[in-house]
């Protein structure tokens, strides 16, 4: 084999390896989803969604977990979104290019990489015991808010910095104040991306398990919460609970619950895409 031929072979082999790696990733996703579907689909029914958890597999349902998750995500959104978006606005539009700003930015980036279980420890010490909120929804939502705050700030910052400077100049040039410029021009333009980033951050929160276990949410809850101070359970917690049990039926129930959880996630992502399209169309005046 001459040198040219050798080089050509190597080139082809490399292309095949790269392609194979990529396909591996896709196959794994397909495998995972198939496995869950095959195991859980037959257990999925309306009763499953409308029943409370039970010791008996055939009667178990995810009503309390489902509503717990919905409550949790709404509270988290109410706490983390205004705070995160505000912080991002400050950092992108107001903050002087100083050392402190730089430190804050690096810090936020690093907070996004802190393991969620550490946020759980923080929530346990700060909210459950420190503020004596107990194992309540609000303690859970506060803990998850701390967890998603850096993600929301980072994505909002990116959305704001993508707004062209000419828009700022146009508004300032007309005598608009800083806040008017942000409120009437920059935020509306960045809104599609802020929304997408926020929904993705919240969908991370809805799947989190470890921090909720840390604050003690893994208890038997057979009612839907009525106020933020009520104890609660959530879908990922319920899944963890079921999968840890020895009876094989519960593994299938866990799979069914995973399907519901994935559907909720899918809905959130679809909502993000639809909202973004709608806003973009509105901005382009179509």
């Amino acid at each position: 084999m001459n040198l040219q031929e050798k080089r050509r072979r190597k080139d082809q082999l490399f292309a095949v390896i790269c392609l194979a790696s990529t396909i591996t990733g896709i196959l794994l996703l397909a495998l995972l989803l198939c496995d869950i579907f095959v195991k859980g689909f037959s257990w999925l029914s309306w009763d499953f969604i409308c029943s409370y958890p039970s010791r008996f597999p055939e009667r178990a349902g995810i009503k309390s977990a489902f509503w717990g998750s919905i409550w949790l995500i709404l509270l988290t959104a109410a706490i983390a979104l205004p705070m995160g978006v505000s912080a991002a606005i400050y950092l992108e539009e107001y903050a002087p290019r100083s050392r402190l700003t730089k430190i804050i930015e690096i810090n936020i980036f690093n907070l996004a990489g802190v393991p969620s279980v550490v946020y759980g420890i923080l929530g346990l010490a700060l909210f459950v015991r420190g503020l004596s909120l107990g194992k309540s929804l609000i303690a859970g939502a506060l803990t998850l808010s701390l967890l998603v705050l850096p993600i929301i700030i980072i994505s909002t910052k990116e959305a704001l910095s993508a707004v062209p400077n000419s828009l700022r100049e146009a508004s300032y040039g007309l005598g608009a104040s800083r806040w008017q410029t942000i409120r009437y021009q920059i935020l509306p333009s960045a809104m599609p991306w802020i929304l997408t980033g926020s929904i993705l951050a919240l969908s991370r929160a809805i799947g989190e398990t470890a921090p909720l276990i840390m604050i003690g949410a893994l208890t038997f809850v057979a009612f839907t919460p009525q106020t933020p101070l009520d104890p609660f359970t959530a879908m990922p917690i319920q899944i963890f609970n079921w999968i840890s049990r020895p009876q094989p039926e519960f593994a299938n129930i866990a799979s069914a619950a995973i399907i519901v959880l994935l559907l909720v996630l899918l809905t959130m992502n679809a909502a993000a895409i639809i909202l973004r399209r709608k806003y973009q169309k509105k901005l382009q005046g179509q």
Partner: protein
């Protein structure tokens, strides 16, 4: 002028409010450190720091109890290394495929699909490990324990794969096109251009993505809790049950541990180690990345 001074006050108030929101991130960090630190200090009143760092037995509930963190660190590193062996090469090569080989259309479909892997909750990976991966491993290697590190390594590997692939791809794509053209003009094959020109130029970005992914594997909790078990062990055998730092924290909080007990305090000490490790790795990753950005900008 009166109208304007009213507006100016409003502007000032808004700015103050936004500033306070931005400061909250600092407060979060400080409170993490303070919370961890205070209980950690009181933990080290009962347990000597030397024993903690050098002891080879972790048995908090036995009498006499042992608080050597090395078995937990061993477990954590075993998972981190095992999952990296899977995720780093696969992630990097698929990043190369997406950036150098795939056309825009393929890329537009494949990239979101791979990123979907990152959006799946970790507890789902845990279930996948227990229900699917472990039975297969046990068929292939019969002496495998029900809880084993191998299964956890595989699913954590899958979990961090999209992180490697998408961050590395960003780094690879940011290599200027002129560099590639220069090499192609000399008659280099795609393989040669990629390995000798593109990858070295993107090296720091790729390294940064590797470090972030490993840090993510270190902090991963649910999948290792479900799949790898709760046996603190110093071992390199991936077919045995082990325990990671994160899994220990979950194990303690699953039981009803009274606040102030030594087991309760120990999760803060472990949390501190975990926080320092991941925060440090993230800092390094960022430092590497900021260095490579200077090259092109």
């Amino acid at each position: 002028m009166a109208v304007h001074s009213y507006n100016n006050i409003k502007e000032k108030i808004i700015e103050r409010y936004l500033f306070v929101c931005a400061l909250i991130s600092i407060f979060v960090t400080i409170s993490i450190v303070l919370v961890l630190l205070s209980e950690t200090v009181s933990f080290f009143r009962d347990v000597s720091i030397i024993e903690f760092l050098t002891g080879t037995r972790w048995a908090p509930t036995y009498t006499p109890s042992h608080f050597g963190v090395l078995p937990l660190i061993n477990g954590t590193l075993l998972i981190a290394i095992g999952s990296s062996i899977i995720a780093l090469p696969v992630g990097l090569t698929s990043a190369i495929y997406l950036s150098e080989y795939a056309n825009e259309q393929t890329r537009g479909i494949v990239k979101p699909v791979i990123e979907m892997l990152a959006g799946i909750p970790t507890v789902v990976y845990g279930c996948f490990a227990v229900l699917f991966v472990t039975p297969i491993i046990r068929k292939l290697v019969p002496e495998t324990e029900i809880f084993n590190a191998a299964s956890a390594c595989i699913v954590v590997g899958i979990m961090i794969l999209p992180m490697v692939s998408s961050l590395s791809e960003d780094a690879i794509r940011s290599v200027p096109h002129t560099l590639r053209e220069g090499a192609y003009a000399l008659g280099a094959t795609k393989y040669e251009v990629t390995t000798r020109v593109v990858l070295p130029s993107a090296l720091s970005g790729i390294l940064a993505s590797f470090i972030l992914a490993i840090s993510r594997a270190i902090g991963e909790t649910m999948a290792v809790t479900l799949a790898a078990g709760a046996t603190p062990n110093i071992t390199l055998n991936i077919f045995e049950s082990i325990q990671t730092m994160t899994a220990y924290i979950v194990q303690v909080s699953l039981g009803d541990t009274p606040a102030g007990s030594i087991a309760y305090k120990s999760i803060f000490a472990i949390g501190m180690v975990l926080f320092l490790m991941t925060f440090g790795m993230n800092l390094i990753s960022q430092w590497i990345r900021s260095r490579y950005q200077e090259v092109y900008e």
